[in-house]
Symmetry: C2
Subunit: 258 residues, 2 copies
């Protein structure tokens, strides 16, 4: 049974000389003093002058979106490796609804935001020294420009999920850390207290961490320092079943690091 196609013979191919811009907005997380922080920039220009926003950039014509993102991160002062992945694309154009004009994301015109999610290790976090750019604690954020609050919330949701089946927690720690440090990261991200003995047993039994020959002397009683076990983690011999919810079946095809 064949029905006549109502599809056109080709796509509609609109004239491109129409306002359309892409904003690249990274949500950068780090951990300071046991609390999660997000990098924000105080806008000193319109729109939203004097309001905090994600430190994004408008994608210059012809440049790959990901390139814009890396350039922006570099401009913010990050030179090291960062864990970065695409988060989501946000779009809300101005629209006429029943005679009224509902404003879109940006008063200047149609701007689509491609948001990224990135993690900055504590050592690298300190290198941010631009005026008006600051790490702000996630649990006490100021009002944000555009729809950036929505983007940050979405990023946090992703981080919470991600930390449960990827070694993302180690991105929030220096290269060497104590097990208490690691536990605090999980607690900060998940927003819950974990049992010390159970946590340690789990982490050690998974061999996701290896002891170094150094001790932390921040504490009264010195604590063993550990490093992330890059080598071992790749294997992760889990069997396949619907109950086995811990891990993606494959690594994310798009996961990137640079």
């Amino acid at each position: 049974m064949v029905t006549l196609s109502r599809h056109p013979a080709a796509e509609t191919w609109p004239d491109a000389a129409v306002s359309l811009r892409i904003s690249v907005d990274p949500v950068l997380f780090t951990q300071i003093g046991g609390r999660l922080h997000v990098l924000l920039r105080l806008r000193s220009w319109a729109p939203y002058e004097g309001v905090w926003a994600l430190p994004g950039a408008i994608n210059p014509p012809g440049e790959q979106i990901e390139v814009t993102m890396w350039r922006e991160l570099r401009d913010l002062g990050f030179s090291q490796e960062l864990w970065v992945e695409q988060l989501k694309t946000f779009d809300r154009p101005a629209q006429s609804v029943g005679g009224r004009t509902v404003p879109g994301r940006d008063p200047r015109g149609r701007v689509i935001s491609v948001a990224y999610f990135a993690i900055v290790q504590p050592e690298a976090a300190a290198t941010v020294q631009r005026t008006g750019v600051e790490w702000r604690p996630l649990d006490d954020l100021p009002a944000l420009a555009f729809d950036h609050e929505e983007i940050v919330k979405y990023a946090l949701w992703r981080l919470r999920n991600k930390i449960q089946y990827t070694p993302v927690a180690f991105e929030l720690l220096p290269r060497e850390f104590t097990l208490t440090d690691l536990q605090e990261v999980y607690e900060a991200v998940l927003g819950a207290k974990l049992d010390k003995r159970n946590f340690r047993r789990k982490v050690l039994s998974e061999r996701v961490v290896v002891p170094t020959d150094r001790l932390s002397r921040r504490e009264k009683r010195p604590a063993q320092l550990y490093r992330f076990n890059d080598r071992h983690f790749a294997y992760s011999p889990r069997r396949l079943s619907i109950e086995n919810l811990a891990e993606p079946l494959t690594t994310e095809p798009s996961g990137s690091r640079a």
Copy 2:
């Protein structure tokens, strides 16, 4: 310590009269005869004339991307509720690398693809009756236009993850189904055999499914028909710990259904 900002006083705000278009590409999954299928459209126009592609559309200026997507789904003949979520945004502009021009995603110009991921229930799948639009089995796909193979692979990876902590499997089944049907969906998506007794015990103990008063008579021996337990599933009393990897801490802020 304050360093002089190297940031401009405002964002770079490029002239918009530059080629930039957005393609909205849904990856539609359904299940036919125990195999996963993807909806493809045979292109009868350039570029990639005669090649199969995702049934996407170019976003008309000013229209919200999600609106384009729903319009496209409606044009394909879907009127029912569909499980839809944004997948990822794909971008590869043409670039000059060392004098050579590396082509981008689309030979016609800069086209960014915002890909969606959607699931069509088997009853609705049959209603697709456009010429050149077909369900093709995922394990035997033809060559695809543009970067659509990458998009499909990414969508499948997402589906595999998603089925492990959301009730997405039920979107691949009719309203009433046998436990064997359900098991086959998991097997098709995960690409693995599961143990019948363990599977049934798990599904029933989670009360994610409720028996109806009807029997399926497709089989030699009639089988109990079940329905998805919408009501009960919302609760899902899981406790919070790093070991408890089964579920997102909150529902995805962006999950949509319409």
